[in-house]
């Protein structure tokens, strides 16, 4: 299991247990993390599971794929650290990962 922390825009945070092999979006949905909508159910087709990766984790998490970059065009307030959480696979290396949830998902 990997622990993932989600920080909300109001500063509150929630730590969830994620199973390696699942996506970060699935871990968020299973634990009811607010602000992760995932309208399309994880098909990389809606950009409503947008998260910001905190600086110290960006290298480990890696950059978005080309398809994900295209879909990020449909997200709001996209930053260098933006990723779609349905496209981040949980691994043991990501134990301790810290992500921020954007103010709005569109």
């Amino acid at each position: 299991m990997a622990k993932i922390t989600f920080i909300q825009p109001d500063g509150s945070s929630q730590v969830v247990e994620a199973t390696p092999g699942n996506t970060v979006m699935e871990a968020a949905k299973m634990n009811g993390v607010p602000g992760i909508e995932a309208e399309c159910g994880g098909a990389c087709a809606c950009a409503t599971c947008h998260v910001y990766v905190t600086d110290e984790w960006r290298e480990k998490v890696g950059p978005p794929s080309e398809m994900e970059e295209d879909m990020l065009d449909f997200a709001f307030d996209v930053r260098e650290s933006s990723r779609l959480s349905c496209q981040i696979k949980v691994t043991d290396e990501l134990d301790g990962l810290v992500l921020s949830v954007p103010e709005k998902q569109f």
Binding site: E39, C40, A45, C46, A47, D70, D73, F74, E103, F106
Partner: protein, 350 residues
């Protein structure tokens, strides 16, 4: 789109036995199940083509849980369903949204679309999935007040944009096409995109870059952060680029951030709703209004699973119940397509 049979569009009055709202996989399969029982359907969809979410959200993504199809893409599933329902000759009405639904004193339903088509029908089948696809509204403070005066999600008349300072936002084909189309009539035109890479057709990107290089339009890389104006009239916007924040004078804005699903007018038809879903019984998949059925992702009942295959099952049971309404005097004999010569005749295989 051109290969879809029997598509019509526009202002007219249509008498029907069944109207299906939504041309996604479940709406399409409902044509089949109704067709086997001699009920011809009209199918309405807000998109300009059949397939619903399969066409709009994941045409190329593989689906693995359709019985007997180990893997099929959203587009292929749609194409196969269209082939399967072809014998039942449905009439499609694309790019239309049902805005009104009411019951007449004689028990029939009247439905009106946003472009004025009117249906009178015995049975209504709501197969609207997550609701109607509508343009995404950027979450900018106060944007609602500017909509239809300064902020537009589509272009109905190009003339409305003549002589205006236009901002187009996005990096796909809609943003690029409207950039190229509106540039000649605009006083000034700025295309804003969050990165210097575009998803749109390469030749449109090349044309846009040429216009920008010639100073006939501006290409800016960044995102909008605030709107400024009053009484619904936009006067300026703030954009954030890598160089910081900047104010641009514009009086018309066209954001193209794709589509999202909204329940829309369905909420005002007097149907019971539970968290934007329509509760139905599991024998007929009928709503609280007899004669109005709801199948697929839009309905809810104990144990509901949002699966295409569940929607197919719901369509079959709905059709049995619809038959009693459309043909109240006819006894329905349950038949199999493998053995019934009358069903095979309807399918055009005998």
């Amino acid at each position: 789109m051109n290969d879809v049979f029997g598509a019509i569009n526009g202002n007219e009055r249509i008498e029907a036995d069944a109207v299906i709202i939504g041309a996604g996989p479940v709406g399409l399969f409902a044509v089949f199940e109704l067709g086997l029982l001699d009920i011809r359907a009209h199918v309405i969809d807000i998109l300009d083509r059949p397939g619903g979410q399969c066409a709009e959200l994941y045409p190329e993504k593989p689906i693995y849980d359709i019985p007997a199809l180990p893997v099929v893409s959203g587009q292929e599933l749609t194409d196969r369903l269209l082939e399967q329902i072809r014998p039942f000759d449905p009439t499609f009405h694309f790019s239309e949204r049902i805005d009104e639904l009411r019951r007449e004193p004689d028990g029939r339903f009247v439905l009106k679309t946003d472009v004025g088509t009117e249906f009178r029908t015995k049975v209504v089948v709501i197969a609207a999935g997550g609701g109607s696809f509508t343009p995404k509204r950027p979450p900018l403070e106060g944007i609602e007040a500017y909509e239809e005066k300064s902020v537009f999600y589509s272009v109905r008349r190009m003339e409305d944009f003549r002589g205006r300072d236009i901002l187009i936002i996005g990096g796909g084909d809609s943003a690029l096409d409207w950039t190229l189309n509106l540039q000649p009539v605009a006083k000034s035109l700025t295309l804003l995109h969050r990165r210097d890479e575009f998803r749109g057709a390469p030749h449109s990107v090349a044309k846009m870059r040429e216009l920008a290089a010639n100073g006939q339009m501006q290409l800016r890389i960044g995102q909008v952060t605030a709107l400024h104006g009053s009484d619904g009239r936009l006067e300026a916007i703030t954009i954030k680029t890598k160089d910081g924040e900047e104010r641009l004078h514009i009086d018309a804005m066209l954001p193209f951030f794709g589509l999202t699903m909204k329940l829309g007018p369905i909420a005002s038809w007097g149907l019971n709703l539970e968290e934007n879903l329509i509760p139905v019984d599991t024998a007929k998949f009928e709503t609280n209004e007899p004669g109005i059925f709801a199948i697929g992702d839009i309905n809810t009942y104990p144990g509901k699973l949002k699966l295409i295959l569940s929607g197919f099952h719901e369509a079959a049971l709905m059709a049995q119940a619809a038959h009693h309404i459309v043909y109240p005097d006819k006894k329905l004999l349950f038949q199999y397509t493998t053995s019934s010569s009358s069903l095979q005749k309807k399918l055009g295989v005998k």
